[in-house]
């Protein structure tokens, strides 16, 4: 069965480098298979641009199967586009109509500066992780088998759900306040729920929140937009848990 194709108009943010002033540029792209992914569509556009001896559009991607967190893109006013619980690489062109105009912008947040075109610098997330998003393990040879510690199924499941966060930054991009609370709360929760994480729990939440604030992310006002747009459906429950952890830690330290 021949797959359907559509012709689309794209309005894409172009910016030469971090310091250049960018602008939205318009491109026409014909014969886009509705079976192609959003990133394949951009590949097709880039081939067209290269053939026309124009600079191809820079955008982030790696695994192209929704697990690495590298792809981004604010598509038609929504992070990772109009579909739910998918990353941009998992978004299909069948979600768009023939003749449609599609807006593509980079993540917008002061803490995520644009590097080029649609590529933004998300190293703020790395620095938050480095501030406490880990469990220190002694590797001198007497490391205890993690499976030897009994963990309640409910807690294990919740920790696992929090751990599915791929650090893509859609939560920040979609939040009207550019708040990173969903990401940070997922990273805090994933440890706070497990016995291995309890040891460093107090310092972890204090340090990670401190780093989050220093990076210039905004304040959460509980609009809940992050939870809706998150490709991994990280729950707002994690933010409530982080707030509790933070209160506990503040009283202790």
């Amino acid at each position: 069965m021949a797959s359907k194709t559509i012709n689309i108009t794209l309005k894409i943010w172009r910016q030469k480098n971090a310091n250049a002033k960018g602008s939205m540029e318009t491109y026409k792209l014909d014969n886009v298979s509705t079976d192609s992914s959003f990133l394949e569509m951009l590949d097709q556009l880039n081939e067209q641009l290269i053939n026309e001896r124009q600079e191809p559009i820079a955008f982030d991607h790696d695994c192209r199967e929704g697990i690495c967190g590298m792809c981004s893109l604010y598509i038609n006013g929504e992070a990772h586009g109009p579909d739910r619980a998918v990353t941009t690489c998992q978004l299909h062109m069948r979600k768009f109509k023939d003749g449609e105009t599609i807006y593509i912008e980079p993540w917008r947040a002061k803490a995520f500066p644009v590097i080029k075109d649609l590529v933004v610098d998300r190293s703020a997330f790395d620095r938050i992780q480095q501030a406490g998003g880990f469990v220190s393990v002694n590797t001198s040879g007497r490391t205890m088998d993690a499976n030897a510690i009994p963990i309640a199924k409910v807690d294990a499941d919740k920790a696992f759900e929090a751990a599915t966060c791929i650090g893509c930054g859609a939560c920040v991009a979609t939040c009207k306040n550019s708040s990173a609370m969903l990401f940070v709360s997922a990273k805090v929760s994933q440890m706070a729920l497990l016995p291995q994480g309890k040891v460093e729990a107090t310092q972890r939440v204090l340090n990670m929140v401190k780093q989050m604030d220093e990076e210039g992310f905004g304040n959460c006002t509980n609009t809940g937009a992050c939870e809706v747009e998150c490709p991994k459906e990280i729950s707002l429950e994690n933010i409530a848990r982080m707030n509790r952890e933070y209160m506990k830690a503040s009283l202790k330290s």
Binding site: G77, R108, M247
Partner: protein, 221 residues
């Protein structure tokens, strides 16, 4: 924990905002209850108002706490709004906020500002009047004046409409604010679904009730 760290971090501000909001909600509930009495009995309303107006604990402890609470709430509201605007220096060309969040949740500053403007009028109407009556003119205690003062205020159709409009915006403020404050203080568990329903009910019933009271006195007298 020192005072500076207390309000320095984003989460601490959030929790302080929620606590001040919850405090205002409890005050609002009490205020609503007393006003509601005016519909049923002028006497009950008078005696409650008199108690509130002359009880020293209410006047010199609760009232200052309330004023500080209100000021804290809207000043912090402005601070957070400015910080949050600064966290995104380049705006999206296309931003579809309606796809993932309620209008009320995205526009707390607008509903808040309208409520603040209303509070200005309201303080002028009743609080300034009380201060002048008690301390400037130092008039004699009259335990039955409150009901007639209330009714007199709602003779004006302009004031009645302004009050009603402000309460619509208060409803929107509470539609998001009630449940938001519980989330902020970390309350999100198996009871949350039920609490959300209560929050939405509160956000409708109380403002609509206030509007009803205003209209009641406007048309009844």
């Amino acid at each position: 924990m020192s005072n500076s760290t207390l309000l320095k971090s984003s989460i601490a501000k959030k929790i302080a905002m929620a606590l001040s909001g919850l405090f205002l909600i409890s005050f609002l509930s009490l205020h609503f209850f007393i006003n509601l009495m005016s519909v049923f009995s002028a006497d009950v309303f008078n005696s409650m108002s008199h108690f509130m107006g002359y009880n020293p604990v209410i006047q010199f402890l609760m009232q200052p706490i309330l004023i500080v609470g209100v000021i804290f709430h809207f000043v912090m509201g402005f601070v957070l709004e400015i910080k949050n605007r600064n966290a995104r220096t380049v705006a999206y060309v296309k931003f579809n906020g309606a796809a993932n969040s309620s209008w009320a949740s995205r526009n707390m500053i607008i509903s808040g500002l309208v409520v603040l403007a209303f509070l200005g009028l309201h303080m002028y109407d009743f609080w300034a009047h009380e201060v002048v009556y008690k301390y400037v003119d130092a008039k004699a205690i009259d335990t039955t004046r409150y009901y007639s003062e209330l009714v007199a205020k709602f003779e004006s159709p302009v004031r009645t409409v302004l009050y009603s409009l402000a309460f619509v915006l208060l409803a929107l403020h509470l539609w998001h604010g009630f449940n938001s404050s519980f989330q902020s203080v970390g309350f999100n568990n198996k009871y949350s679904k039920k609490l959300h329903k209560l929050g939405y009910a509160f956000a409708i019933i109380v403002p609509v009730g206030f509007i009803f009271i205003a209209l009641f006195h406007h048309f009844n007298n």
